[in-house]
Symmetry: C2
Subunit: 722 residues, 2 copies
């Protein structure tokens, strides 16, 4: 509905309602059904097995019997209204079939067929026709070139690859821009006991985008968390709106976004740390939108599964109970990396644990109940009981290593009773109980049943589990802050200067900055040596002199900067700078020479705003010199950002300690610094489309003295060619 | 055999032979066998199920029948020699039983019983007695407080926790210092089809250490790779020797070492980047020894499994064939992180792939054969055939996404034929074929059989797989270099100076450095203002002056350094410095004032050697200033290191670019720099136990001018208290 929405101005609510009808269909017709196609066989088998309350029709012009079912020769033969068409006909027949579908009064269509936008210019043209047709006939279309969807919670599974049982229903909604990975993710979810509400493979997204699916999932009560595999974000504004809706609703979006390596090498005129298309911009945008970015399909599932079952957990203080000292060591290492905490047990807890556990134990958090659990399996649960007494105010969760039997024992009663007791303990605990296994292995049908019957979820493996818990803690921090501060306000629109073309060097940008209240180090533009000498007299000796020409972006490239100039050398220096410009750029006009006081000491910052092709204006902030040039140490944010976020950015810099006075520097007035950076960001944002890049480099800060020493702007309109 | 080895001077060969007899036992007696202990039940059941050719006796003084078997009342009742005793008696009875074991002529003992060194001082005393007894009676002992072992390849499984089938035999030898995690690792290995040669849980390591087990595994033909879970490395020298043996044998050691967070906070007198006990020292030591360090049990198994089956893969150039564009994107992202490469396909390959694949495909490396593989499952194998033609010289491996069916189809023949074809393709391929699944899920019994029958191994999941491949590539780089360069030679021993006590400030260390040929910036120690003035005249104006007192480690702390002193101020400065020392440290004797030329410009390095409690002398190397103080950017190595490794260290620094002339600095003479750092390292190493710390900070480098500007030494003997 991406394009559709533009055309019709569909609101969030409209999209959700239409997709609600789409995913809630009660009857499906498979068009192009044939026993020769695995897709057809599997889609039909999936519907048979997992969609018991859905009527399935099959249509094919030349068959009588397909998948053991009577075939309709055409849609005309339908004797009742049908909610959803699943189209598997050859590419060339799709448009015609779409018209027939519309004629038959069907408004929802899944197109499995490939050969559209992904297949070169011809396919793209066909896809454009498809979009027009869908708009004209009022069709809601998923695909083309997508596997369809699995509405596990609603019992509707028009999906083109075989779904191996069991299909667990649960809190995770999944949307994928890769059909090839959809079944792998499904298998992974099943293996880990991650239950699904809905899984959608969006294909080419001709009309329904991943963002549209997320809109639906945000409003879907059965979905608690959204897992997404994303290859590209085509409509960032819409994506941003959806992410903010999810944040407001408290439904975490966990995303695996590929293409990390694609850009990076793109050259930029400014030195600004962020390059357009840089993957770090996506990182920044995701963080700003509260989206949890993961690096693997395994992490996607572990994180979504954890959050689906435990999204209410706030805070980082964990009480852990394990049967192994080795597990405790691993937990401690991972907690330190994920900034999670194992606060010491209160003295009463320690005393009681000391009485319960064998004499050779060493009670502490995380707790090793020792291998004696083999002789007396109740000590783990008893330890949980003891720890439970003092959780309030001390811990945000209890993490419990649960060894769930993989096979049913000859006498299953003791184990089932212990599982019952564990479930009871979880219910009566004042903080969430998180069960975790020692290593990632699949649930067996028996362990799945032991857990499922009791509404329990098992975090699979120590490391994947702790990473997921870390993601959860960071998500809540960001969300809480977002709720508190609210979304950043957009900067007021500003008119671009009338001569805003090409590259503006310092002497042109200074006025723009000053006009918007941004402090700039004093300097005057002298147009003659005599004037330069007069201006120099206004400042303390020695002065700095910089050649100024609209044709020259980087003064120092031609030796156009003279530092520590004594007054009696000003005249000669003026002439020298003039000569250097004439030699280096014979065509360039000398606009003058900037004369200003020397500035030394303090810390230099780079404040840049560039335009990312996807996300628009991006602010990058870093310490100057080696920090940016050698280390690439910059913090990035997509604009708009508020002052709070700028404070956070400064804190993220590896050299942040320098700002607070490390190495004997004067501590910086942070409020003032944040205010100046905010002004620069507001200016760049306000100038909108007209501005490509604004770079202040350096912004010199020394205590409460903060001023621009040099700056550059690049406008979208080309400069005059004179 | 840790202690034993010291006592008896056992060689590597002796240890291997003794453990060979230990793990190769043909008869076992379970002492303390009882139906009331799960350990006993499970050990017996394991032996019954997985040790078909091993005779099992059970001994208990008060039972007649245990585990359905006739009980011997004591070892005296044995009517044949027995190879191995498995001891499960109460802690207090262990020593007595050990004597009975020895009396019965049994030399190999597993002690499951806990309550020894891990249980406080009393237990430690008992363990010491156990060690003495074992030495006196010539016993080889595994444990106490360990689960025993699983010799999967040899069919001997005296292991205290139930082994769920299947027990796959394979190339991975596992040693664990955590009994609690042993069964988790076993389950994880089974789930992933990682076959085991031997798994050993070492318990308290009273007599047999993890290093001993590794010695055995290095010599064990069935073991191709060693996976280790380590909590502590008690005998670093032995560990190092074993690691080098493994490196020589080409058997990778993959290690999960916990305790990453434990130290770190320990204060140090020097500013040197490495803190004693720092986890980064372990990182460095492991890298130097070619040990692959991993962060999770999952990564341990993925890496060991991959290397066990593919340890011959050298190089980073991968040709990949997948059924999914999403998988290609993930592979590309991960390759970039792991520094692996997907070189473009040769033109002929591209042309042939273009003919084979559907028109909407876009052949490139990694290759997406497209979802059309559903209609024609042969296109993936055909693509492999095409790619195979041009692998030599272009690629080091072919990575092939294999979707292995989880359940047997009604007609399994087509799938089995494709699996046969895949196995054949692998055999005829000129580079290794690596099979990979799209996501980590357990093998089913059917998929296990499909693979196992054909000798195939499946790398589980895209991300875990690519990490494993990355580990493999780095391992081979390090090993190849180690084989080429050889182990670093030990520095010649040096006599410590007679007055080597306490802390030596600069003026004492200078002579030591100079005596060993290390270039030190010129300076003379003036004992009077007059002398200072005379010395100052020897250098160009201005000079630097630094107060010198044996009682003062850090001159600048008391303002004891004066820079840019003009000759006419030297006298006054001498007096001022003298006064400052008297005020700050009234008890301190002024040894004089160092007078030398001013040095500015260039790059400052920190070269420090500290003593780590486990690993001994550790060299840390970093750029000075913010690089070390704010960023902690240092490269670490355990000594000895050769010059090649010092070159690598310099390259690892984040600010390495500065050395080669970034930001306009003069490129450094790297050979000369490496030589000086090597001299410093050799000196510190040669001084041996007497020296605690030697820190050169800064070492100033400018082009080919490299000299020590300041230095500090800390000796092990306390300084005089005067």
């Amino acid at each position: 509905m991406r394009l559709e929405e533009k055309v019709r101005g569909a609101s969030h609510r409209e999209v959700v309602d239409r997709l609600g009808a789409f995913f809630g269909a009660k009857s499906v017709v498979l068009i192009g059904a044939t026993d020769r196609s695995p897709w057809s066989i599997w889609t039909h088998a999936n519907l048979r097995q997992y969609s018991p309350n859905v009527t399935v029709h099959v249509v094919h012009p030349h068959h009588d019997q397909v998948h053991g079912q009577q075939v309709l020769k055409s849609l005309n033969a339908l004797d009742e209204p049908v909610d959803l068409a699943y189209v598997m006909v050859p590419t060339s027949a799709v448009l015609e079939v779409m018209n027939e579908v519309a004629d038959a009064g069907i408004t929802n269509v899944v197109i499995l067929t490939a050969g559209f936008g992904e297949a070169g210019p011809e396919g793209a043209e066909l896809e454009a026709q498809l979009v027009d047709l869908a708009h004209a006939r009022g069709l809601t279309v998923l695909g083309p070139n997508g596997n369809g969807f699995i509405n596990a919670a609603g019992g509707l599974t028009p999906y083109g690859l075989l779904i191996t049982p069991p299909l667990d229903v649960g809190p995770v909604g999944i949307v994928l821009q890769s059909g090839g990975l959809a079944s792998a993710v499904l298998a992974g979810a099943q293996a880990r006991g991650v239950g699904l509400s809905l899984l959608v493979s969006t294909g080419n997204e001709a009309l329904t985008s991943a963002s549209d699916i997320m809109r639906y999932l945000i409003e879907d009560d059965r979905t608690k968390v959204i897992a997404a595999f994303l290859e590209s974000i085509r409509q960032p504004d819409e994506f941003r709106e959806v992410a903010e809706l999810a944040l407001a609703a408290g439904k975490p979006i966990v995303a695996l976004k590929t293409g990390r390596t694609e850009a990076g090498a793109k050259a930029a005129l400014a030195h600004t740390g962020a390059l357009a298309g840089d993957d770090r911009v996506i990182d920044a945008a995701f963080r700003q939108l509260g989206i949890i970015r993961v690096n693997s399909l395994e992490e996607l599932l572990a994180t979504a599964g954890y959050l689906g079952h435990h999204r209410e957990i706030r805070g980082r203080r964990i009480a852990a109970i394990t049967p192994s000292g080795g597990a405790c060591d691993l937990l401690a290492d991972l907690a330190s990396e994920e900034k999670l905490e194992f606060p010491e047990f209160p003295p009463e807890t320690l005393a009681e644990l000391g009485e319960l556990l064998p004499s050779f134990s060493n009670p502490q958090n995380p707790l090793d109940v020792t291998g004696y659990v083999v002789m007396d399996p109740t000590i783990a649960l008893k330890s949980l009981g003891i720890v439970a007494n003092d959780v309030v105010g001390n811990y945000d969760m209890v993490l419990y290593t649960a060894t769930i039997p993989r096979l049913e024992a000859p006498n299953p009663a003791p184990i089932e009773q212990r599982m019952d007791a564990l479930a009871e303990a979880g219910k009566s605990l004042d903080v969430p109980l998180v069960l975790q296994s020692l290593i990632s292995v699949d649930l067996t049908s028996y362990s799945r049943k032991l857990l499922g019957d009791r509404g329990l979820y098992l975090l699979s493996g120590i490391e994947p589990g702790m990473r997921a818990i870390g993601h959860g803690a960071r998500y809540h921090d960001r969300r809480d802050r977002w709720l508190e501060v609210g979304p950043p306000t957009t900067a007021p629109s500003l008119e671009a200067p009338v001569n805003a073309r090409g590259v503006w060097p310092e002497h042109l940008v200074r006025g723009l900055l000053e006009a918007h209240g941004i402090p700039v180090a004093p300097a005057r533009l002298a147009t003659s040596a005599l004037e330069a000498k007069a201006f120099a007299g206004e400042f303390e000796e020695p002065v700095a002199m910089k050649v100024a020409s609209s044709a020259l972006a980087h003064k120092s490239d031609i030796g156009g900067v003279a530092l520590n100039v004594e007054v009696d050398q000003v005249t000669a220096t003026f002439d020298e700078l003039k000569k250097r410009l004439a030699v280096a750029l014979p065509e360039a006009t000398l606009d003058g020479v900037l004369v200003g006081p020397m500035r030394t000491g303090g810390i230099e910052l780079l404040v840049g705003v560039v335009t990312d092709p996807t996300w628009g204006k991006v602010l990058s902030l870093g310490l100057g010199g080696v920090w940016v040039e050698v280390l690439g140490d910059v913090a990035l944010r997509v604009l708009p950002v508020g002052p709070e976020e700028i404070t956070t950015m400064l804190g993220e810099l590896r050299g942040a300690a320098l700002l607070s006075g490390a190495r004997g520097t004067r501590p910086v007035d942070m409020d003032r610094l944040v205010a100046v950076v905010y002004q620069i960001a507001q200016l760049a944002e306000g100038l909108g489309e007209a501005l490509d890049t604004l770079e202040v480099n350096p912004l010199r800060v020394e205590g409460d003295c903060i001023e621009v020493l040099d700056a550059l702007a690049v406008w979208r309109s080309e400069g005059d060619s004179k």
